[in-house]
Symmetry: C2
């Protein structure tokens, strides 16, 4: 129901984009916002153009097409943000696996944990790289949009770091049944981290 909004959000920054550029955005595992397949993006673009939310900025003989957001699209984005409630439902295959991890033996669990660690470390490096790029890029173009993007990346970096630290202690949960889980994660869970307000 929201690929439409993900596309509008990407186009709202003003730069005309072609279908392929959007496909790359939505197949990107670093940017965990909205996933979509190539075929879905192309057909959604056609639908949105017909609906007047976006329009063709350019098209060459090969069919290569760039799109920009229209005024109608801009209003749709504002409507979505202000008049509909966020959907907090998630499908997270990777976490689902960790919830089921106790069924396998300790050695297998260790392998799976290490694989995820390696994925998250690579993702963290990538996140930091992209954040650095934003700092220079944002100075030219719409600063407000780029500052927003930077902020989201900051959260992703903090959460990736938390995940990596958690994965480092996770094997102990299975391998040291004599220690309580609270004890194992003692330094992560040092009570109400300024939850006050």
């Amino acid at each position: 129901v929201a690929l439409k909004h993900a596309i509008l959000s990407a186009l709202s920054r003003g730069v005309p984009l072609n279908g392929y550029a959007l496909v790359t955005v939505f197949s990107n595992e670093t940017e965990r916002l909205w996933h979509a397949s190539a075929s879905q993006v192309y057909s959604e673009l056609i639908k949105m153009e017909k609906a007047g939310l976006i329009e063709i900025a350019s098209r060459n003989e090969l069919g290569h097409t760039t799109y920009v957001i229209t005024e109608v699209g801009r209003r749709e984005i504002e409507h979505w943000l202000t008049l509909t409630d966020p959907d907090h439902s998630i499908r997270d295959d990777s976490m689902l696996r960790f919830m089921a991890l106790w069924v396998v033996d300790d050695t297998t669990a260790r392998h799976l944990i290490q694989a995820e660690q390696s994925f998250q470390r690579k993702r963290l490096l990538r996140l930091r790289e992209v954040l650095d790029e934003f700092r220079t890029k944002g100075e030219q173009q719409d600063a407000r949009a780029w500052r927003d993007r930077q902020a989201v990346y900051v959260l992703w970096i903090v959460q990736a770091e938390a995940m990596i630290a958690w994965l480092e202690r996770l094997p102990d949960v299975f391998e040291h049944p004599e220690r309580s889980v609270a004890e194992i994660f003692a330094n992560s869970l040092r009570e109400p981290v300024a939850a006050g307000r």
Copy 2:
């Protein structure tokens, strides 16, 4: 493709569950693992029972049915964990909104941020409650399963706390354009949090 695995994972702890209990699990916004609607759960259960992954533990005259996992189901879970790769693709409506937040004015942004803050605070309280319940519950039943669950809740709590702290500083990104984003989130981003290894 994975509601099947989410159901098997829930049943793997050995307690027979009925459709409604599973519906509650998958519509729960605290436990951000796998979301599914009621009708989907009921029809998936029928399909899985036919496929021999689960079986009926009891059924009364009213049609109220509880299911347990079979040996085939247990093998399917292990196959999934060890022989297929995790799918890291995500659709996160709430984050998508934050990425587009710069399009609205500061007052509206503030309202939206506060609404999310209130959601995350409630979720955090709920997470802490459930974690406390696990500590006592886990002593009786399969300790390994319950320790795993506790660990996942620990990560969720840490990440919810990080999100709340981030949301507290987010308004400054829009309202203080003279300050750099790095500066605003300085205490969150205090460099490589033991990413070493």
